[in-house]
């Protein structure tokens, strides 16, 4: 089977959607330029025409709003924000309009829009070019928030998002783009059926992450096993709606919970995962207090020296997990 990267899997999703669904079009800034979105959109404008791949002025709010409008007129637009920091300009079309549209009109009209926000961190880019804001959107009723971590999910969850009949925030992370894996035939999955999944079964601790954090958790598996820790690893995949069942059952089995998130801690997805476990798992099952590792509660630094301290790394993660085993209840 041919090997794909995470980024070419996204490209594969676009090709599948544009080929099979004439109502799909893609709109956003920089879509006719190769360097904005890596190779995730390579040559799409050449292959499908500039009418379906629309490059835009720097007008995030109007462009996102126009895509919401187009979806109300039977199209299936994908809006691309090459850096999700700029999505802040589009908060009204996303949070006030798209997310509320179905509810406030009694389910009679629904924007079937996909908004792709790309997380683009590191490289001394600083506070306004480095944000992972998935938790912000997961707070809003009416938005589905999808975060693929695997190569196959990068493609199949994008297809599922676009074919769904509601607003979806699809967030991919540039730090995953070079990840390689085999890619089976594209499939159409109903977004409603997307749940977190167990990537590795284990019995001594439940590790939960999404997007790049899941990748990091996979990276440390061997070291944990060497230290006689047999982890169960769960990839969230979708954080709104929040599905707690898999995590609850896993924690009942392992008695320990560690959450890794590339966003901030307060009011973030890590808070939600831990509070749902505490609410749903009887205290007697816990062998240790749940723990998490998130970004320090500061904006992203620019300096390379500070960046090294800022983002989670193998050593920091392992130290946190080892501590859980020291603090048995």
């Amino acid at each position: 089977m041919k090997k794909f990267t995470y980024s070419t899997a996204i490209l594969d999703a676009y090709n599948f959607l544009l080929k099979n669904y004439p109502e799909v079009f893609v709109i956003g800034q920089g879509l006719w330029s190769p360097w904005y979105v890596g190779n995730t959109m390579k040559d799409l404008d050449k292959n499908f025409g500039k009418k379906r791949i629309i490059d835009t002025p720097v007008s995030e709010a109007a462009v996102t709003g126009a895509a919401v409008g187009a979806s109300l007129n039977e199209m299936k637009p994908i809006v691309v924000h090459p850096r999700m920091d700029f999505m802040m300009y589009a908060m009204d079309p996303i949070i006030n309009q798209a997310a509320k549209w179905s509810y406030m009109f009694g389910g009679q009209s629904s924007p079937s829009i996909t908004i792709r926000g790309i997380i683009n961190r590191g490289g001394e880019q600083g506070a306004q070019h480095s944000q992972a804001l998935h938790s912000l959107f997961a707070h809003i009723p009416g938005l589905k928030v999808v975060l693929p971590s695997s190569v196959a999910d990068a493609r199949d969850l994008l297809i599922a998002s676009v074919l769904a009949d509601q607003p979806v925030i699809y967030i991919d992370d540039r730090w995953l783009y070079d990840q390689e894996d085999q890619l089976p035939e594209a499939k159409e999955i109903n977004l409603e059926s997307i749940n977190p999944c167990i990537l590795r079964e284990g019995n001594s601790i439940t590790l939960v992450g999404c997007s790049y954090s899941t990748f990091l958790l996979k990276q440390i598996t061997k070291k944990l096993i060497k230290n006689k820790i047999n982890p169960e690893i769960i990839d969230m995949r979708i954080i709104n709606p929040f599905h707690s069942e898999l995590i609850t059952n896993s924690v009942k089995k392992t008695g320990r919970l560690f959450v890794l998130d590339g966003g901030w801690g307060p009011c973030g997805i890590s808070s939600e995962i831990i509070s749902s476990a505490v609410e749903n798992v009887e205290p007697k099952f816990f062998k240790s207090k749940p723990a998490r590792l998130t970004l320090p509660f500061t904006p992203a630094p620019t300096s390379k020296v500070l960046e090294k301290e800022y983002y989670p790394n193998e050593k920091k993660i392992l130290n946190k997990i080892f501590k859980i085993f020291e603090n048995n209840l």
Binding site: F25, K51, R52, I54, T56, P57, S59, A61, A62, V63, T64, G65, A66, A67, V68, G69, A70, S71, L72, N73, E74, M75, P77, D92, P93, N96, Q97, K100, W101, S102, Y103, M104, F105, G106, G107, Q108, S109, S110, P141, G142, K144, A164, D165, Q166, E192
Partner: protein, 347 residues
């Protein structure tokens, strides 16, 4: 001292009867009926609000009826219309069922938005009304988007974006104008310039009272009109809608008008509106779009006084009946509320 009587406004608006040449009796009568229906329905809502029958805020457009009636005359049910917080007239002019409309104002489950919207969130898919929301300027890019979709689908469908002089001050509107222009979207921006954003007069918010300068800045063809002159709205509406269907959009209409009620609910806001005076209200009531049309029709002998009295009686009867029926409807059930969050949940 009299704010409204600036030369600029005086030169555009008038007290005089209006020119009804080139319009048929039936067409004018139909539009007059719609204007009376809208006005009296809004008076009904105003009373309902004052007496506590309507729970949420209502933004009334009494005095502004000519604009949506003139525009809607040339639209069909495939066209896409968006409004904002003051949109009773926009959806009523498209011919929405009156009882379902009142039911929504009263937040009943048989309402046009299933009782989930109330006065500020109106929906009428069957008449081409895509939605109205109270976030000022919020639907402007959405109308551009439905127009973009029409263009991509190569359909001769027009989108209408109703906005006010307050919404013009939102950044998203300017992005939308530019985006619509560079993509030649078949959308018409209809600015109902009633000189007030909530409580504040436009002269305290903008360097000029007219907003069409923003259309000019974005290279969009525009016209400034007396918004209380039905046939003038009709003429421009008809032309721009036809040219939009032929792929010449976007266009921008600025219609000068005035609301007789204050920003919200049944009061006149003479006391709270900054630079809103009793004199102004009197000045504008002389420019009543309905009265001016009636005068022209009577003068040209299109019908007599008695005909007019009977027409108004019939309309009032319809309004009273629809209101009473709507009052008797039931409220939405709590369990529906969760179902509506996502369309896929809606059974």
């Amino acid at each position: 001292m009299k704010d409204s009587n600036s030369k600029e406004i005086d030169s555009i608006t008038s007290e005089k009867e209006i020119n009804i040449d080139n319009f048929s009796r039936d067409e004018l009568l139909e539009m007059l009926s719609k204007m009376i229906l809208i006005r009296n329905a809004e008076y009904k809502i105003a009373k309902g609000r004052e007496f506590g029958l309507v729970g949420g805020p209502v933004h009334l457009g009494v005095g502004q009826e000519a604009i949506p009636v003139g525009i809607s005359q040339y639209l069909n049910n495939q066209d896409k219309v968006f409004g904002a917080h003051r949109s009773h007239s926009h959806i009523l002019s498209l011919g929405i069922d009156l009882k379902s409309f009142f039911s929504e104002i009263l937040a009943k489950s048989s309402g046009i938005s299933k009782g989930m919207g109330g006065s500020m969130h109106l929906f009428g898919g069957s008449v081409g009304f895509c939605g109205s929301v109270p976030i000022v300027g919020g639907t402007v890019p959405l109308a551009v988007g439905t127009a973009l979709a029409s263009k991509l689908k190569e359909e001769k469908v027009v989108s209408i974006s109703y906005l006010g002089d307050g919404a013009i001050e939102e950044g998203i509107v300017h992005e939308s104008l530019n985006f619509a222009r560079i993509n030649n979207c078949p959308v018409i921006f209809v600015v109902e310039n009633n000189l007030f954003s909530s409580h504040l007069n436009i002269k305290l918010r903008q360097p000029k009272k007219l907003t069409y300068r923003f259309a000019k800045a974005n290279d969009i063809e525009s016209k400034v009109l007396d918004g209380n002159n039905l046939t003038s709205i009709c003429k421009t509406g008809k032309e721009f809608i036809r040219r939009c269907r032929d792929g010449e959009g976007p266009f921008f209409i600025e219609a000068l008008t005035y609301r007789w009620f204050g920003h919200v609910d049944w009061r006149e806001d003479i006391d709270v509106g900054i630079n809103r005076s009793a004199d102004d209200l009197k000045y504008w009531k002389k420019r009543d779009p309905i009265l001016r049309l009636k005068k022209s029709l009577l003068k040209e002998n299109y019908f007599g006084e008695n005909h007019l009295i009977n027409l108004e009686k019939d309309i009032q009867k319809d309004i009273d009946n629809a209101w009473v029926d709507a009052l008797g409807e039931s409220s939405p059930e709590w369990n529906e509320s969760l179902d509506y969050v996502f369309k896929s949940n809606y059974k």
